[in-house]
């Protein structure tokens, strides 16, 4: 807490597009009073000042190189509460698409014979490196959910991140289901909270918010197959943001079968 009684919060970014930080700035458009409720002591994208005595750390971006780990650990040491901000931090996000190709090939493709100059490894969620208290899912995060999380933390509550799937919100919006329109969608197994924004704008949910706690994967894959997807296309659907999770699950299954 600072002297004015406002908890000090800091924002950090790792490998990301900074769209979640931008969404934080956007959330001020309708709620400038946020600045009265917390004291922001670090926010590189928006300010030059730097305070090191933060209580809550919002971390954007995934961990993609060994040197990120030390920085993450330092933040964890200082912060009483660590919140993963957005899909990159929460899931590894779109950065984990790298997984689908052997890493050397990726580096080679982009940097050619200079590949050795750059330090990088498989992208991973920050939870793979430090304990994370809460997460705000989404690529990008949802403004309202960000504000609700801040309020919940101030009240000493768990942030109200839903455990139910996107279909719940999609139905409440009375969208015609994409499956009815001959398209496909990851909504049934994806964590809600985005107000089903993608199906509402005519596009498949791509699972940017990660999976619900107990998804019925086998049934979901059957649904996708029934709507004409090949196994390869189903893998593609499952890996836009969640390659890390899908891979973890496969490895888990492999190790239990051993």
């Amino acid at each position: 807490m600072s002297q004015n009684g406002k908890p000090k919060v800091a924002f950090f970014d790792f490998t990301s597009c900074e769209g979640c930080q931008l969404t934080v700035v956007d959330s001020l458009q309708d709620h400038p009073e946020l600045l009265n409720a917390v004291e922001i002591v670090q926010f590189r994208e928006a300010m030059s000042e730097k305070g090191e005595d933060y209580l809550v750390a919002f971390i954007e971006g995934s961990c993609t190189r060994a040197s990120d780990e030390a920085r993450l650990k330092k933040i964890r040491q200082q912060a009483a509460v660590v919140v993963a901000l957005g899909a990159c931090a929460h899931l590894g996000g779109v950065n984990t698409l790298k997984y689908l190709h052997p890493l050397d090939e990726v580096r080679q493709y982009v940097y050619g014979d200079k590949a050795g100059w750059y330090d990088t490894y498989d992208a991973r969620p920050i939870e793979a490196v430090i304990p994370v208290d809460y997460f705000i899912p989404g690529c990008p995060i949802d403004r309202d959910e960000f504000l609700a999380t801040v309020k919940a933390l101030l009240l000493g509550k768990k942030p109200p991140i839903p455990d139910y799937p996107v279909c719940v919100e999609c139905k409440l919006k009375e969208n015609t289901c994409l499956f009815t329109l001959g398209k496909v969608c990851m909504g049934p197994v994806t964590r809600a909270g985005c107000k089903a924004i993608c199906p509402s704008y005519g596009q498949s949910c791509e699972a940017c918010r990660g999976f619900i706690p107990d998804p019925n994967d086998s049934s979901m894959r059957e649904v996708l197959a029934k709507h004409g997807l090949t196994p390869d296309e189903i893998t593609t659907m499952y890996t836009m943001f969640t390659t890390y999770q899908v891979r973890e699950k496969l490895m888990q299954r492999a190790s239990t079968h051993e």
Binding site: E33, A37, K151, L155, D163, Y164, V168, K171, T176, M220
Partner: protein
């Protein structure tokens, strides 16, 4: 009560005259289908719609409803939710009308629910007679909801260029007299109505393989049916079935606060027995721990539990859940399969 006639061309004027005094709601085109929406341009109304994703229930029991506001500055000052608007709902199909009658019972029996009732008392229901089935998913005829002799304020039947109007209540009669140009039905119009009604019934198939009065006992006998486990394998637990259902009324209650953390509101939001969390208590114990048990609960509620508590079936055969389900779990399919199983076992 007496039968009235209103010309189709008069409906637009009827709504125009209502608009200053009422929130007018009815089926309009939306997302390639239809939806009950607030109407600002009477020309948008589609009384010959097929079905909607969400039932008109959403105007009586909104997906998110303010229960009261609070100001916590000095320990708690409460302010009840806003006054409800007088509302006319046009185009309620008879299945949905039966569903609203059930909701009326649910929210009146025991501790009456002021939030629901405040809106309900200010709502005028104008139902329409269905003359062709919505699609292959509806099974209203099997559920006994293909017609209604009560529950509406006004009831319209399409006679071609005019609607026959049944008056179901004083509220309906007053509305008709004050806002619409109608006349008494002539004998030949009464005849036409009878003809229309008798022609419609054969067009609707029975979809249950047994009489609906056997449904409650069928379900009691089926508590241990292997079917539930099969459904559990398939069910995605997306809760689409309950969210679109006109008779589902389970809810959650949540607090929302402003950024000052002092002012806020308590809201009621739709909940679903199909979601993992629904029956989970602190410590993680879930009293219906898998999808199979939750599906069983859903169907027993529809065909038995609600009947036990409120003397009306909890399913009106609208078919919405069947349309919404991605893995083809449908009441007709489930009920018929349970019936088949009991037949094989020689139980019923």
């Amino acid at each position: 009560m007496s039968l009235k006639i209103i010309q189709k061309s008069e409906i637009l004027d009827f709504i125009h005259r209502l608009l200053p005094d009422y929130r007018v709601v009815g089926p309009v085109e939306s997302n390639g289908g239809y939806a009950f929406e607030e109407i600002s341009d009477p020309a948008d109304l589609r009384l010959n719609y097929t079905t909607t994703i969400l039932p008109p229930k959403k105007f009586l029991l909104p997906p998110q409803e303010l229960l009261f506001k609070f100001d916590n500055t000095n320990g708690g000052h409460l302010q009840p939710g806003p006054e409800r608007e007088p509302t006319v709902i046009f185009g309620v199909h008879t299945c949905d009308l039966h569903a609203i009658q059930l909701l009326d019972a649910v929210f009146t029996n025991g501790f009456a629910d002021p939030n629901y009732l405040r809106q309900r008392q200010q709502t005028v229901l104008i139902s329409v007679e269905c003359l062709t089935p919505c699609d292959e998913n509806s099974f209203c005829k099997s559920m006994g909801t293909l017609s209604a002799d009560e529950g509406y304020d006004l009831h319209l039947t399409d006679l071609g260029d005019a609607y026959a109007v049944d008056i179901g209540s004083q509220k309906g009669e007053d509305l008709l007299l004050d806002y619409a140009a109608s006349k008494d039905a002539a004998p030949e119009e009464v005849q036409r109505l009878n003809a229309v009604l008798s022609e419609k019934w054969p067009k609707f198939p029975y979809r249950l393989d047994f009489d609906v009065s056997d449904l409650p006992s069928l379900l009691s006998l089926s508590m241990k049916s292997p079917l539930w486990a099969e459904l559990g394998e398939r069910c995605l637990a997306c809760a689409a079935c309950t969210n679109v259902c006109p008779t589902c009324f389970c809810f959650d209650i949540k607090d929302e606060v402003e950024m000052d953390l002092k002012h806020g509101q308590r809201v009621r939001i739709w909940d679903s027995c199909q979601l993992d969390e629904f029956a989970t208590v602190a410590g993680g114990h879930n009293f219906r721990k898998n999808k199979a048990l939750r599906q069983r609960h859903r169907f027993l509620r529809k065909g038995k539990y609600i009947l036990d508590a409120h003397q009306q079936l909890g399913c009106v055969g609208c078919g919405r859940c069947a349309r919404a389900c991605l893995v083809d779990i449908t009441p007709v399919g489930v009920f018929n399969e349970l019936y088949r199983q009991t037949q094989v076992e020689g139980k019923l």
